[in-house]
Amino acid sequence: MLTLDQLRPGEVGQIVRIEGVDGISCRLREMGFVPGESVQFLTTAPLGDPLKCMIQGSRIALRGSEARRVLLAEPISQAAPLAQKAPGLAPRLSTTGP
C-alpha cells in the first residue's frame, strides 16, 4: 500500500490509516494525521531523512520510519503549495529546486 514516504515532492495523498498503537502513532494522530485528511509531501532533509509535509495547514517534519506508518490512497493531485490557486497547472513543481 502507498505510504507517505513514497510520495514525490508536491504530491497530495489522502490518509487511509495510521499503523500502530504506540507513542509514535498516537503523536501522529494528535498532530492531525487522521483518516480522511489530505497530506502533501513537500521535501526531504538534505541527508535524505526526515521529510517535510503539510497537514491541516501546518508543516510537520517526520522521519521516514514514521512516515511509513501513514497509509494513503493513491495520490490525488500534485499541487505545489504555492500554486494552490491553480493546482492543475503545476504538476511537477517541486519545492526542493532542481
Binding site: 498503537v21 504506540d22 507513542g23 509514535i24 494528535e30 538534505p46 531523512d49 501546518s58 517534519a61
Partner: protein, 738 residues
C-alpha cells in the same frame, strides 16, 4: 475577603504563544520550581491587577492529554488536581492557535472532559486576520459552551478582556458538566470498568507505597486514558495499583470496546476530530490563505540540500565562535573584577585564615559562578533568537539523520555542540528536547564533549612532551594531531555511551521525532531577552548557590589541617616591604612557594593524593599528579595552578609558563627516572578528556534532572571510564615507545 489563592492553569499546544501569554498575564512575578521527582518545570505567576489572589501555572506545551511518560502524567495530574500537595486547579485556560483551530481543538476536547471550567484564549488572532481567516468567536463559544476570547499575546491585544473573563469564570459556579465528545457507549463501558475495579482490593505493595489516588478509583478521565492509551502511563499506574486482576479487567473492557466501536486507536481520534469539525461548523468564515507563502520561500533555501547545510554550518560556526572565543572578553573582565576585589581585600586585611577564606574561598566561589554567565547568556541569546524566528525546528530537521549515530534526534545537536565550549550551558539547553529519554541521554553524554577548560591541560602536556615533528612543510604537526585526537576521544566514547544508556537505564519505547515546523517570523526582542534573563537567573539561583558552597568546601580541604603560620608570616613580610623588590623579598617569595607546596601536601587534599598513589601508579602518575587530578575534580582548569603550587612555582602559573614546563620535565622519581614522558602526558590528557571534573556541570545536571541520581551516575561512570582510558593509554604507549 478573598478566601484562599485561586489556581488557574494554562495549557496549549506547543508554539501557540503560551509562554508569551503567561508573561503578559503575570508580569514579572514568576517563580519556577520543579515538581518532585519529574523534570517538568512549575512556573507560577500571579495574575497582575487581579481583584483576588490568582495564581497562574504554566504547563509545558502538549498536543494532547494522553500521558506516555511520568512527566506528562504529572501535567495531567496538575490539571485534574490529583497531585498530592498541590492545590486544586479551579480553571483551565487553553491557549489555541487561531490559524490552526481545528487541530488545536483535539486538546480542547480532552480538556472539556475533565469537568473543570475552561476559558479559551484564541491567540495569534492578528496573524489569522492578516491572512483573511475569519473566525466567529461568539459562535465558537456557543458551540463549545465555554467563553472564547480572541487575543494577540505578542501585540497585547484583547488581554484585558481575557483577564476579566478569567476572573468572571472563577466567580461563577464551580461545578461544570464535563463534555462527552466520544460515543456514549464508550462512557458507559468506562463506568462499568470503574465498577469492576472498585470490587478489587488494591495491591498490598501499592498500599505500602502509599500510592493512593483521592478516591481509591482513579477519576473518570484517568480511567479513560488507561483504556485508550496502550502502553501509556495511565495503564502503568492502573496496573501498579490493581495488579494482575486490574490488567485482566482492562483487557476485557478494551476487547468489548473494540468489538462495539472499532479499533481502539481509532475510537479516540475519529470522534475527537469529528467533534472538532462539528464545533467549527459555521465558525470559520472565508477560508483565507492558510498557507504562509514567505515560510515556503524561506524553507526552499534554508532546508535546501546545499544552501541549507551551508547556512546551517555558518550559523553554528558563528554561535560556537561566540561562546567559545568571544565570550572570553566578558570572562576576562569578570576575572579582572575578581582580582580587583581580591586585591582590595588583601590590602585591607592582614594575612591569615580569614583572609584566605574570603579571597580563596568566598570571592573565588562567587567568581566561579559568575564566570559561567557570559557563555550561558550568549548561548541562550542565540537559542532564543533561533527558536523565536522559527529556525530551531529546521536545525533539528537538518541534522536529525546525523544525530542518529548517537541514537538521538536532531534536537540534541545544539546542546552537544555548545558543550564543546562548556557543558553547563549545554546541559541547560537540553530543555528543548521534550522526550525525557533523549534529553537525559544528551545530558549524560554532554560532559564528554571537550570543553574549553580542558584546553589548557592539553596545551601544557603537548608543549612539554609531544615531540615537535611536523610534515607537509609544517602544515600538519604532531601536536596538532594529538590535540585533535583529544577532541575526538570524547565523541568516540559518547557514541557507545549514549547507545548503551538508551538500552539500559533509559530504556523505553522509541521517541517520536514528529516535529512541527513553525512559520518564520522576525524574533521579538523582548521575548528573546526574557529567555536570556530566565536562563541566567535559573543558573545563579538554583545551581550557583551549590557551586558556591562546593568551592568553599574545596578551599577548606586544600587549606586544612596544614600549618600556615610561616606562610602567613612570609606573606606579611612581603606585603610590608614597601617596594616589593630586592634580594630579601625574592628569598621570601621563594620560601613562600616552598611553604605553600608543603602546606598543600599536608592538607586533606595532599594526604588524599598520597593515599591514592598506589591507585594512580598504573597510570604512570606520582602522588603530585594524583593531587593535581583530585584538586581538579571541582573544576579541571585548577590542575595548572595546583601543579604550579606542588612544584613550588606558586599558583599564578598558566599553561605557557616556562617555569612550570621545565619543572614538570625535570620532575624525577626517587630513583632518578623522569616522572613525565609521552606516555604519562597522554594518560593525563585522556584522563582529563573523559573525567567528570566539573562540579558545576554535575550540579547543573542535578538541577536539570531534578534528582541526585543522574549526577552521581555521571560522576561514577565518567571517572571509571577516565581511569580505564588513562590506564590503557599509558600501558599501550609505554610498550610502543620503549
Amino acid at each position: 475577603m478573598t478566601s484562599a489563592t485561586r489556581r488557574v492553569v494554562l495549557v496549549g499546544n506547543p508554539n501557540t504563544g503560551k509562554s508569551t501569554l503567561f508573561g503578559v498575564l503575570s508580569g514579572l512575578s514568576v517563580r519556577t520550581a520543579n515538581y518532585p521527582g519529574v523534570t517538568i518545570e512549575k512556573k507560577v505567576g500571579r495574575l497582575a491587577d487581579a481583584r483576588c489572589e490568582v495564581e497562574l501555572v504554566d504547563l509545558p506545551g502538549t498536543y494532547s492529554l494522553s500521558p506516555r511518560s511520568p512527566d506528562e502524567w504529572v501535567a495531567v495530574e496538575v490539571l485534574t488536581g490529583e497531585l498530592p500537595g498541590e492545590p486544586d486547579a479551579e480553571l483551565i485556560v487553553c491557549v489555541v492557535n487561531a490559524t490552526l483551530l481545528r487541530r488545536n481543538l483535539f486538546l480542547v476536547s480532552q480538556l472539556l472532559e475533565l469537568g473543570k471550567p475552561v476559558v479559551i484564549a484564541l491567540n495569534m488572532i492578528d496573524s489569522a486576520r492578516s491572512r483573511g481567516l475569519e473566525i466567529d468567536c461568539e459562535r465558537l463559544s456557543a458551540n463549545l459552551g465555554v467563553p472564547v476570547f480572541p487575543v494577540s499575546a505578542s501585540r497585547r491585544e484583547g488581554i484585558e478582556e481575557l483577564k476579566a473573563g478569567i476572573l468572571q469564570a472563577l466567580d461563577q459556579a464551580r461545578d461544570f458538566a464535563p463534555q462527552k465528545p466520544l460515543p456514549k457507549r464508550f462512557y458507559d463501558l468506562c463506568d462499568e470498568f470503574s465498577g469492576d475495579l472498585s470490587g478489587l482490593t488494591r495491591q498490598p505493595q501499592a498500599v505500602a507505597a502509599g500510592i493512593e489516588p483521592a478516591e481509591g478509583i482513579p477519576s473518570r478521565y484517568l480511567l479513560e486514558r488507561a483504556i485508550l492509551d496502550r502502553g501509556g502511563e495511565a495503564e502503568r499506574q492502573l496496573k501498579r495499583q490493581f495488579g494482575v486482576p486490574g490488567a485482566e479487567r482492562l483487557e476485557a473492557v478494551r476487547t468489548r470496546i473494540e468489538s462495539q466501536l472499532g479499533p481502539l486507536s481509532d475510537v479516540e481520534c475519529d470522534h475527537r476530530y469529528a467533534w472538532a469539525k462539528r464545533q467549527t461548523e459555521g465558525v470559520l468564515g472565508a477560508a483565507g490563505n492558510a498557507i504562509h507563502g514567505p515560510t515556503e520561500r524561506l524553507d526552499a533555501v534554508l532546508i535546501h540540500r546545499v544552501w541549507g547545510l551551508l547556512i546551517f554550518a555558518a550559523l553554528m560556526f558563528v554561535i560556537f565562535q561566540f561562546i567559545y572565543a568571544w565570550s572570553g572578553i566578558p570572562m576576562a573582565a569578570i576575572e579582572a573584577a575578581q582580582d580587583f576585589v581580591s586585591d582590595r581585600v588583601q590590602s585591607a586585611m592582614p594575612p591569615g585564615t580569614l583572609r584566605s577564606l574570603i579571597v580563596d574561598g568566598v570571592i573565588a566561589g562567587v567568581g566561579s559562578v559568575v564566570i559561567f554567565l557570559p557563555q550561558i547568556a550568549m548561548l541562550f541569546l542565540f537559542l532564543a533568537i533561533l527558536e523565536d524566528c522559527g529556525y530551531m525546528a529546521r536545525a533539528a530537521f537538518l541534522v536529525d539523520r546525523m544525530m542518529g549515530l548517537f541514537g538521538l534526534s536532531g534536537k540534541s545537536f545544539l546542546p552537544l555542540m555548545s558543550s564543546f565550549a562548556c557543558a553547563v550551558p549545554g546541559v541547560m539547553a537540553t530543555r528543548v528536547i521534550e522526550n525525557r529519554r533523549d534529553r537525559f541521554a544528551t545530558i549524560l553524554i554532554a560532559p564528554f564533549m571537550s570543553c574549553s577548560a580542558r584546553l589548557p591541560v592539553y596545551l601544557l602536556m603537548i608543549s612539554a612532551f609531544v615531540p615537535a615533528i611536523s610534515i607537509a612543510g609544517g602544515l600538519i604537526s604532531l601536536s596538532g594531531v594529538v590535540l585533535m585526537a583529544m577532541y575526538f576521544v570524547g565523541v568516540v566514547v559518547a557514541i557507545p555511551t549514549a547507545w548503551l544508556l538508551k538500552r539500559t537505564l533509559l530504556r523505553g519505547e522509541p521517541a517520536p521525532f514528529v516535529l512541527e515546523l513553525p512559520e518564520y517570523k522576525v524574533p521579538d526582542l523582548k521575548t528573546v531577552l526574557h529567555r536570556v534573563w530566565e536562563a541566567c537567573k535559573a543558573f545563579v539561583i538554583r545551581a550557583g548557590t551549590l557551586i558556591f558552597a562546593a568551592s568553599v568546601v574545596i578551599w577548606a580541604t586544600a587549606y586544612w589541617p596544614a600549618d600556615h603560620t610561616r606562610r602567613h608570616e612570609l606573606e606579611r613580610m612581603i606585603e610590608a616591604s614597601a617596594d616589593g623588590e630586592g634580594e630579601q623579598v625574592a628569598a621570601w617569595e621563594a620560601e613562600l612557594k616552598r611553604v605553600s607546596a608543603a602546606a598543600l601536601e599536608g592538607s586533606v587534599l595532599g594526604q588524599v593524593g598520597h593515599a591514592i598513589e598506589p591507585l594512580v601508579r598504573p597510570l604512570g602518575w606520582d602522588w603530585k599528579i594524583g593531587v593535581g587530578a583530585i584538586a581538579s575534580f571541582p573544576a579541571r582548569e585548577v590542575i595548572i595552578a595546583t601543579l604550579g603550587t606542588v612544584y613550588s612555582m606558586g599558583g599564578d602559573v598558566d599553561e605557557e609558563s616556562e617555569g612550570l614546563i621545565s619543572a614538570i620535565r625535570e620532575a624525577r622519581w626517587p630513583d632518578g627516572r623522569p616522572v613525565y614522558n609521552l606516555a604519562v602526558a597522554l594518560s593525563i590528557m585522556v584522563f582529563f578528556a573523559l573525567c567528570a571534573q566539573c562540579v558545576s556541570t554535575l550540579l547543573v545536571i542535578r538541577r536539570e534532572t531534578n534528582s541526585w541520581r543522574w549526577p552521581i551516575l555521571s560522576f561514577v561512570y565518567m571517572t571509571a571510564l577516565a581511569y580505564i582510558g588513562a590506564l590503557v593509554t599509558y600501558q599501550v604507549t609505554i610498550r610502543l615507545v620503549s
